[in-house]
């Protein structure tokens, strides 16, 4: 009875784990929008396959041993071990684990060990209990000086920027929303003014502690090819987050506004220019995965049929390091803009800031 139960339980465990993890590995994670994140995701999926096999084999082997050698009055075989098995497991696991690890070092080096690409857009990310503030260098492209002694929450100078005396500071923009352009190299400079926080944007595959006393640089780039469709859909994040079908309908409406028939109609053809490619969409079908807020647009270009993801334009940036009682409320927002939109916004915001100071 017990061996049978054990076998059933272990098989249930393997199925219950492997099915969601392996079969839908990619779909389990929030959409990917960064370039380097592809490598991380691939590494996660590869690790998932390898560990999935090891996990299943080990659990099934355990089940098999329990079933096959359950006590029926037989005499156990007197075996003390097998040197070959030991050495094989040493080398097998060593090569496998260390090798797997080495494969992931490239993306680590890209993020942490290399200089950021020239001409990167620099944005300061500042954590404080329980809010994120972002600073942009403004039209002069330079951050102004800052000092903790200038911090004054009542006049909303949360970062202590020296607006008074530093000419570089005057056009600096401090905002509660992180705005980033897609398709450009971006470097965030992560800081904290009180306790340790952690800057985390799931879709970017970026996480870095914000440590008081340190400034930590993290580069990333948002993949613009995938960003095409959200411009097309142009639906507000709040709509996409709605729990009913209003999100789907809004997307449909947007496509139809652009003259693209959604779902069944194949009547109209629309040509869209992107920096990389001329897309000629003939049919578009929008499907909706409720749990993930993911939008898949199936398109056909001439004879070719493919898929593009529709993304939200705003992303959550939850604090990932315990920072006090309000930790769970500490989230920032990241809004992805097209480079043109970003430039226009940055220019105007910087001018506004300058005239204000």
């Amino acid at each position: 009875m017990q061996p049978l139960l054990m076998v059933v339980a272990l098989f249930a465990l393997v199925l219950g784990t492997v099915v969601p993890f392996i079969v839908r590995a990619h779909n389990m994670m929030p959409n990917l929008i960064s370039v380097h994140g592809k490598v991380i995701d691939d590494q996660i999926v590869l690790t998932m396959y390898i560990t999935g096999v090891i996990f299943s084999l080990a659990q099934i082997a355990l089940a098999w041993m329990i079933w096959k050698y359950q006590s029926k009055g037989q005499k156990a075989t007197y075996v003390h071990g097998n040197a070959l098995v030991e050495w094989a497991s040493i080398f097998g696991s060593g090569v496998l684990f260390v090798g797997l690890n080495l494969m992931g070092q490239g993306v680590w080096a890209d993020m942490h060990l290399k200089d950021e690409p020239k001409g990167s857009t620099e944005i300061e990310v500042n954590g404080q209990q329980y809010k994120w503030y972002y600073r942009y260098p403004g039209n002069d492209g330079k951050f102004g000086e800052r000092s903790p002694s200038l911090v004054d929450d009542t006049s909303q100078n949360y970062l202590g920027v020296d607006f008074e005396n530093d000419k570089y500071a005057k056009d600096d923009v401090v905002e509660g929303t992180l705005r980033v352009p897609y398709g450009r190299d971006i470097v965030v400079l992560i800081r904290s003014r009180d306790v340790i926080h952690s800057f985390f944007v799931r879709e970017l595959r970026v996480k870095q502690d914000a440590v008081p006393g340190l400034e930590i640089k993290i580069p990333f780039k948002i993949d613009h090819d995938g960003m095409l469709m959200f411009k097309l859909a142009g639906v507000a994040a709040s709509t996409l987050d709605a729990k009913d079908d209003s999100g789907v309908n809004a997307v449909k409406a947007q496509f139809e506004e652009h003259g693209i028939a959604v779902d069944t109609s194949k009547a109209k053809i629309k040509v869209i220019e992107t920096p990389k490619k001329r897309w000629e969409l003939s049919t578009v079908e929008v499907s909706h995965y409720d749990a993930k807020k993911e939008w898949t647009v199936r398109y056909s270009i001439e004879e070719e049929i493919g898929e593009l993801k529709v993304y939200k334009t705003t992303y959550e940036s939850p604090c990932a390091e315990l920072c006090g009682n309000g930790h769970y409320t500490m989230r920032g927002e990241m809004e992805v803009l097209s480079p043109e939109e970003y430039d226009a916004w940055a220019k105007k915001a910087s001018e506004d800031a300058k005239s204000y100071h």
Partner: protein
């Protein structure tokens, strides 16, 4: 320095008179068996408190409603912090090492008591003092700390960081410091006992695997708690004497710049994790030893690759000191160092894989009896695999970028460190209860306990991996965040909570069974499991001096089961040499 000892000093065996008064016999006892039981009982009390706390925050998460929160955000974090601290220190460190180790290490190596019985008593009472100090944190103004069991500064270093960070945090640090002292005393005792007090014939490579595990664990405790002690000391200085070890310049609280300058929050993390990682092995190594022992006994087979198992324990302990940085990949530590830590971390997979292979090898071609002890031991193997596998993700610095501080981490360390270690404690209890109390525990209740726990814990922690894959951050008391307000997350929280209630309430069955059987269980003979190690040659429970005034002599390896040509299917370690046919004596 060669010193001629007086002759009477050569006798290490402490021949005490058995105390007769209740207080010296059961309370301030120097008998390792009584102290072992005291440690075990302390762990039972701690586990009841710790698991109750976990049910409180699980209930909070399942019924989460911003308007009517079951726990306020600060209470949530207090409960969370105390849950972690109580379980890591007062259960996972005390029960397998202080409890079983104290009781069975001297008996398994054939000693009359620990090397320093009075220090042993001191160690227990310091642990109790530490536990009381920790619990006192609940009752001081401001309540228990909210900084998590890791207590990262500056959050934990400055009272004004958040509400409720007053005396509670100080008591927390004080409790940890006392615990460090207790562990230091205990570790010295374990190491000296293992090396000095072994019976005649008990070579190091004839010690049962639990003894090896306790020995290596004691070495880890000796070296790691010393660093935590220093780290905690500096935290107290920062909190109360105006130093700035962990507080850098320019820190702002209440819109005011603090005067502290010159410290580093990373310094604490280094000191903490230099202890913290070996601590994981302090919790799990004794479990590995106990489970190996039980697997061999109920498979009626010698342990597969005994020497490899010993070397694997030593390797895990040794490498365990050089991997602490994998807790800090995202901390702002040098990214070059992270690469080294990551590679070293992966090499720990090697001895872990050896252990798993050898456990399976021990079952292979065996004669397996699935009683409660064995079921928990088998469950341990399954959990060790499951929890170890997710470590392959987290040990890779690149992959950890995504998983760090999500529920994936929570699921990982609960499976490998929490639940697996608990399974080994349960397995050890069902196995050794007849020896400790002279009675059996109820088998049917034991099986019910196993199945509810086994299914329960997997139903708790496998979904948690999924939530981590989704990017659910740890230590969130609410789901105000847009992402978490997603219908998927509350559904998962409900499921996990339901499973957690099943798994925790199942422990009540165990506790009832334990105390009922202590008085009413069927009487156990000397060696009910036909096991080979030395605790089974003495009475159940053992006499005050363990072996009734005779010194056992060891002639055999620890796991001589099913030896071909032998008269019975096991050869006690103390059986005469001729009990094993000459050709059959195994070497691996």
């Amino acid at each position: 320095m060669s010193v001629a000892h007086e002759v009477d000093e050569e006798h290490e065996v402490h021949v005490h008179q058995e105390p007769t008064q209740f207080i010296w016999k059961y309370v301030f006892s120097t008998d390792h068996k009584v102290i072992g039981k005291q440690y075990y009982m302390l762990a039972v009390v701690a586990v009841v408190i710790g698991l109750t706390l976990s049910l409180m925050f699980r209930w909070h998460l399942a019924t989460y409603d911003p308007q009517h929160m079951f726990l306020s955000p600060d209470t949530y974090l207090q409960v969370l912090t105390m849950h972690g601290t109580i379980l890591v220190f007062m259960v996972l460190t005390t029960a397998p090492l202080g409890g079983f180790g104290n009781y069975f290490l001297p008996i398994q190596i054939g000693a009359v008591d620990m090397a320093f019985p009075r220090l042993n008593m001191l160690s227990f009472w310091l642990t109790l003092l530490s536990f009381i100090t920790l619990l006192a944190a609940f009752f001081v103004p401001g309540g228990a700390p909210v900084s998590g069991w890791t207590g990262y500064p500056p959050l934990s270093a400055i009272n004004s960081t958040t509400e409720g960070m007053g005396w509670g945090q100080t008591l927390w640090v004080g409790s940890i410091a006392i615990f460090c002292l207790a562990s230091l005393v205990g570790a010295i005792n374990f190491i000296v006992t293992t090396l000095d007090l072994r019976a005649r014939g008990m070579t190091l490579l004839r010690m049962p695997l639990p003894c090896w595990a306790w020995f290596v664990t004691a070495v880890l405790a000796l070296l790691s708690f010393a660093v935590l002690f220093a780290g905690g000391l500096l935290l107290i200085l920062d909190r109360h004497l105006g130093t700035s070890f962990y507080i850098p310049a320019g820190v702002i609280f209440g819109a005011k710049e603090l005067n502290h300058k010159g410290g580093s929050p990373l310094l604490y993390q280094h000191l903490f994790w230099f202890f913290g990682h070996p601590e994981v092995y302090i919790a799990i190594l004794p479990g590995m030893g106990i489970v190996s022992h039980i697997l061999a006994t109920f498979s009626r087979k010698p342990i597969f690759g005994y020497k490899a198992m010993v070397y694997a324990i030593i390797a895990i302990g040794g490498i365990g000191f050089f991997v602490w940085g994998h807790h800090m990949f995202q901390s702002g530590m040098s990214p070059y160092v992270a690469v080294a830590f990551s590679l070293l971390t992966m090499t720990i997979g090697v001895p872990s894989a050896i252990k798993t292979f050898n456990w399976l090898g021990t079952l292979w071609m065996g004669n397996i009896t699935c009683n409660s002890a064995m079921l928990f031991a088998l469950g341990f193997v399954s959990l060790f695999v499951s929890g170890g596998i997710s470590g392959i993700f987290l040990g890779q610095n690149a992959v950890d970028i995504y998983f760090h501080d999500t529920y994936f981490v929570v699921a990982h360390f609960h499976l490998i460190m929490g639940v697996a270690a608990m399974f080994s404690i349960a397995a050890g209890t069902y196995f050794w209860f007849p020896k400790m109390y002279g009675r059996f525990m109820n088998e049917s209740l034991g099986k019910v306990h196993f199945w509810l726990t086994f299914v329960g814990v997997y139903s708790v922690f496998i979904p948690m991996h999924l939530m981590g894959l989704w990017g659910h951050p740890r230590r969130y008391s609410g789901m105000e965040n847009a992402f978490l307000s997603n219908p998927f997350i509350p559904a998962m929280h409900n499921m996990v909570t339901a499973a957690a209630f099943v798994a925790v309430l199942a422990q009540l069955i165990f506790i009832c069974n334990f105390f009922y059987s202590m008085f009413k269980g069927p009487v156990a003979p000397e060696n009910p499991w036909n096991c080979t190690s030395l605790e089974w040659i003495t009475t159940s429970p053992p006499k005050f001096d363990n072996f009734g005034g005779v010194e056992p002599v060891v002639n055999h390896d620890p796991y001589e089961y099913s030896v071909p040509g032998a008269s019975k299917d096991y050869i006690m370690q103390t059986d005469p040499p001729e009990a094993a046919p000459a050709h059959a004596v195994g070497h691996d």
